[in-house]
Structure formats: structure tokens, C-alpha cells
């Protein structure tokens, strides 16, 4: 039975609780989403019935565990429409996926004089790994600017920054601070025309909207399970097979070798080459269950639901005195981020918590962007499938009380 929207909150056991005496209003979904009962149950069932180490085993449990793990890989392949399951590498999350590309592809392909192109809205996880590989290889970083508070990429500058020295272009699909949905297919096409390899950070998009890596035309794509109704500890690096098979291993260990001698080893092809050690097969099974859950709801519907809430929240919040709202005026991903003159984000979040509302306040791992916009922190409300209109009422009321308390904004 596919999950339905009518009683969707019933499927999330965590939502049924009070915080500081008030019903929990969880608006911190860009940090991590909650898990439906079906996903928790899948994990439980795996450990209570099929648990065993995968791959090298010939006994029944090991074969069942292997089928479950490889089944999850195929499920993810379908979820993002990769060409083959071998293009799906399981990692801990977006951060590890990007580090893998930076370390393996980067070390093999970048040298002094090369340029890595990023955007000014990248999360630290799509920025620091490139700084580290730049230090090691002598490549340099360059940034596609953001236009300003409306949070758009300055596409008019693309020709200026996307020059022949650029070897790699890494950008986020949806900004976790601005809510901007970047035109990923267009950016990939522009890069591909110049032979530039692309890395898409899909942490904030893959659980929120339909995503087809072949239609997008990216070379690599990274995401985290815990931001798409799944558990922590599991994520994915998608890579085009031809690129993956040409890449050197990153971590060494059991499972990724084809033969080991005391002084030399040979590697298996992808995905095994990049999955050293016992994989996190338990959480991979949970990720497969999350794909089922999200497809049961329909990803077009999820996109519409989240964007509607975010746009309504933006419009309602914009009536508050002294508020500065970031991000695009039109459609956006399911979040809105804002700052008040005279009240710091952390005080806002602490007051909201009193009302049972979970918000995030801070730099959202976007320090350079913050500095660029002349901010140190914002408040962020981010939505997911279980959020409701009435929770926007609660949010706006709480904000109103807080700015009144601090005598600010007006």
C-alpha cells in the first residue's frame, strides 16, 4: 500500500510529541528530515531477519543480505535514473561523496594552473574538499557570483568564469540557505560543451523533487539519505561509469581489491573499488525503503507541497517589521531564510523552541556566502512532506512575539 498524503503525519512517529508543552512544529528539515515508520521498520526487519556480511558469503543469510544491499543499489539507480547500478556508490553522505570525487578524480586529473569553478552559494561540504585538493594539486578556486539577496546565480558572468582553464565545475542544485533552485541541466550543458567535468550537490534536492541524472547531464552527483526521509550514515555518489572506472581508489581495504600481495594490489571496478571495508548495508536497505516511500507520495507532489509552504511562509513573514528575506521571489525549494534587524538568529530560535517550533539559526555552513551578503547568521524554516499550513501560522506568531519582546524591528 503506497503511503498517502491524507494521514501522512501518522507515518512519522516522532511528530507525535510535545516540546516545552506545545505540539512539536518541526521546521528544520534542511538539516535533517524525519523517518517514516516504514523506513524504521525496514531497518528493524533487516537486523532481525537477514543481517549478515555481504559479498563474500555463500550461506543463506549472506546471500539474502547481499540481495538486500544490491537491491538497494538498484532502487537508488532507478530513483535517480542512472544508467547502471555500478554508477551508484554508497557513502556516508553528501560530504563523503564530494570528498571521494575531490580526492580520487581530483588527484588524478588536476594540476597546477587548473581551475576548479564553484559558486558563491556552496555549502562548506562542497567547498572545503575543493580547497584541500587545490592545496595538494596546485589548482586554484574560482567562484560564480550570487546576484544578491534574491539568491540567484549570476548567469551573465558564466562565460567570464567558465574559461578553458576550468577542469571541474561543482555547484549545488538547491541552496540550503537561499532556497534557490539552480538550472542544473543548463549549467551541466554549458560545462560539457567545454569538456568541463560537473559535480552536482543534490543534498537539498533529491528528496524534494524528481531528479534524473541522465536528463540533467551531470558527471557526478552527491546526496545524503538523512535529508530524504532516511537514516544517518548512508548517502550516495553517482558517477558516470566511464569516469568511475578510470579513477584510482580512495580508501583501501577489504572488498575493493581484486588481488592483494604484500607489496602490490589490483582493484575491482566500480562500485566495489570505492567501497572499502564492510559497507553500511543496514542503512542502505533503509535508503531503499525511503525511495519507495517518496515515490509512493510522488515527487512532483512533494516538490509542489514543499514549494507552496515555503512561498506562503515567505509571503507571510515579509509582513513582519524589520525582516530581511533571502532567496528568489518566484518558485523556490522548500525553505525560507531570513534575518531581523536588532534580533539575533539564535535568540529567535531559542524563543521559537519555547513555542515547540524547531528552527535553525546560524551560518548554515555557508560562511562565505553570509559574509558576501553582509550577514553572520539567518533564521531558517525548512519544510517537508509532513508540514502543514497551520505550522506557518505558529511560525509567524512566534516571530511576532519575539521581535516584540526585543522591542526590535519597528
Amino acid at each position: 500500500m503506497p503511503p498517502t498524503w491524507d494521514r501522512i503525519r501518522d507515518q512519522f512517529p516522532i511528530l507525535d510529541q510535545k516540546v516545552n508543552g506545545r505540539p512539536l512544529v518541526y521546521l528544520d528539515n534542511a538539516a535533517t528530515t524525519h523517518k517514516p515508520a516504514s523506513v524504521i521498520a525496514a531497518l528493524d526487519r533487516f537486523y532481525a531477519r537477514d543481517n549478515s556480511n555481504v559479498h563474500r558469503g555463500l550461506h543463506a543469510l549472506s546471500m539474502r543480505a547481499t540481495d538486500a544491499y544490491e537491491g538497494a543499489r538498484s532502487r537508488v539507480k532507478t530513483f535517480i535514473n542512472a544508467a547502471a547500478p555500478e554508477e551508484i556508490i554508497f557513502t556516508r553522505g553528501t560530504t563523503e561523496s564530494i570528498n571521494l570525487v575531490a580526492a580520487s578524480w581530483g588527484a588524478a586529473n588536476l594540476r597546477k594552473g587548473d581551475v576548479i569553478l564553484l559558486t558563491e552559494m556552496e555549502h562548506h561540504s562542497n567547498l572545503v574538499p575543493w580547497q584541500l585538493v587545490a592545496q595538494r594539486t596546485g589548482a586554484t578556486l574560482r567562484y560564480l557570483p550570487v546576484t544578491g539577496d534574491d539568491g540567484l546565480l549570476d548567469l551573465a558572468s558564466l562565460d567570464r568564469v567558465l574559461t578553458p582553464e576550468v577542469k571541474l565545475f561543482a555547484f549545488t542544485h538547491v541552496s540550503n540557505t537561499l532556497g534557490t533552485i539552480n538550472p542544473a541541466a543548463e549549467l551541466c550543458a554549458r560545462a560539457r560543451a567545454l569538456g568541463v567535468t560537473t559535480v552536482v550537490d543534490a543534498a537539498q534536492s533529491v528528496g524534494h523533487m524528481p531528479l534524473d541524472v541522465q536528463a540533467m547531464g551531470c558527471d557526478f552527483l552527491a546526496f545524503s539519505g538523512h535529508k530524504m526521509a532516511s537514516v544517518t550514515g548512508i548517502g550516495v555518489l553517482y558517477g558516470r561509469r566511464a569516469l568511475l572506472d578510470a579513477m584510482p581508489p580512495w580508501q583501501g581495504g577489504g572488498g575493493m581489491i581484486s588481488s592483494v600481495d604484500f607489496h602490490e594490489s589490483r582493484w575491482k571496478p566500480s562500485p566495489e573499488r570505492f567501497e572499502a571495508g564492510t559497507p553500511n548495508f543496514g542503512d542502505a536497505v533503509a535508503l531503499g525503503a525511503s525511495c519507495d516511500f517518496l515515490d509512493g507520495l510522488g515527487r512532483d507532489e512533494i516538490r509542489r507541497h514543499d514549494a507552496d509552504l515555503a512561498m506562503e511562509a515567505r509571503d507571510r513573514l515579509s509582513e513582519l517589521p524589520g525582516i530581511r528575506i533571502l532567496g528568489p521571489g518566484g518558485e523556490r525549494g522548500g525553505l525560507v531564510s531570513f534575518a531581523f534587524s536588532g534580533v539575533h538568529a539564535h535568540d529567535v530560535v531559542t524563543f521559537a523552541d519555547e513555542d515547540g517550533i524547531a528552527l535553525r539559526g546560524g551560518h548554515h555552513c555557508n560562511q562565505p556566502l553570509m559574509r558576501r551578503l553582509g550577514l553572520t547568521s539567518t533564521v531558517r524554516a525548512s519544510f517537508y512532506v509532513y508540514n502543514e499550513r497551520r505550522e506557518i501560522d505558529a511560525l509567524v506568531d512566534s516571530m511576532r512575539r519575539t521581535i516584540k519582546f526585543f522591542g526590535a524591528g519597528g
Partner: protein, 151 residues
């Protein structure tokens, strides 16, 4: 507002937050230190004019939540004129207040920060400026960060 929250945002704190004392750089400062709280992006610079072992003047600059701004402001009023040993002692007392909720031994505005202990995530906000001040006092060149010590 719950009792906990009104304990956290006491009038003394709100007042220092709204009208910070000793804010801005002292032109004659002979010591300074920078502090930051990487968890939330709060920043604080502390400037001192040391006269021998005594803090002749002190000021701060930076950005952060009401707790961190009020704490910095109040700190400048408390540390002015103190020797480094006295400053250390005051910090120890302040630290105990914010981590345990214990009232100060003598009547002091520091007591306004007792409510912080119920909000462990905010303890670092309260102590950031103090760490920067002690670093400045000791001439420690490394920026103070709330990550390199236990609160």
C-alpha cells in the same frame, strides 16, 4: 514566557544587549584578541589597555546573540581596573555561574547569567568574550575559539 526563558533573558541582559557598554575599538589599546564560536558564527574582539598588570581600559566589538553581546558588555564593566589575577578569579566565578546556575557570592550583575545553565547550548555564547579577554591578557596570539576549551 516560561520561567526558564525569563531567567535566561533577564532585564540586566536585555539592557546590556540593547545598550552595550564599551563597544568599539579603543585607540590606545596595547592588547587585543579575537574570539569566535564556530558552531554559530558569533565573533568577538576584545581590546585592552594594560597598565602594568592592571586593565586600565577595555572594550569589545563583534556580533552575536543577546546573551553573547550582553555578556561582553557586562564583562567590560566588570574587568575594568582589575589585575590579571582578579580577572582570572572573576572568570572562574562567572564560569561556575553559567554552568551550574549558582548565584554569585557577592551581589553582582554576573548573577543575571545564572539562567544560562538551563540552556547548555548557550553557555558558549556567554563565555566567548571572556575567553577572548583572557587571551588578550595573556598575550596569546591564537584566536580564542569556543571549541578549544570545554564550555
Amino acid at each position: 514566557m516560561s520561567a526558564d526563558l525569563s531567567d535566561l533573558y533577564q532585564n540586566v541582559i536585555l539592557d546590556h544587549n540593547r545598550r552595550p557598554r564599551n563597544r568599539g575599538r579603543i585607540p590606545t589599546a596595547n592588547r587585543s584578541a579575537h574570539g569566535d564560536n564556530p558552531s554559530c558564527g558569533d565573533q568577538c574582539d576584545v581590546f585592552l589597555r594594560l597598565d602594568g598588570d592592571r586593565i586600565a581600559e577595555i572594550s569589545f566589538d563583534g556580533s552575536g546573540c543577546a546573551i553573547s553581546q550582553a555578556s561582553a558588555s557586562l564583562m567590560t564593566t566588570q574587568l575594568k581596573g582589575k589585575t590579571s589575577a582578579e580577572a582570572e578569579r572573576l572568570y572562574k566565578e562567572f564560569h561556575e555561574i553559567v554552568t551550574t546556575g549558582k548565584e554569585p557570592e557577592e551581589i553582582s550583575d554576573l548573577g543575571a547569567f545564572a539562567g544560562v545553565h538551563a540552556f547548555p547550548a548557550r553557555i558558549k555564547c556567554a563565555t566567548l568574550s571572556w575567553h577572548a579577554a583572557l587571551n588578550a591578557l595573556h598575550g596569546d596570539p591564537a584566536p580564542a575559539t569556543t571549541e578549544s576549551h570545554k564550555d
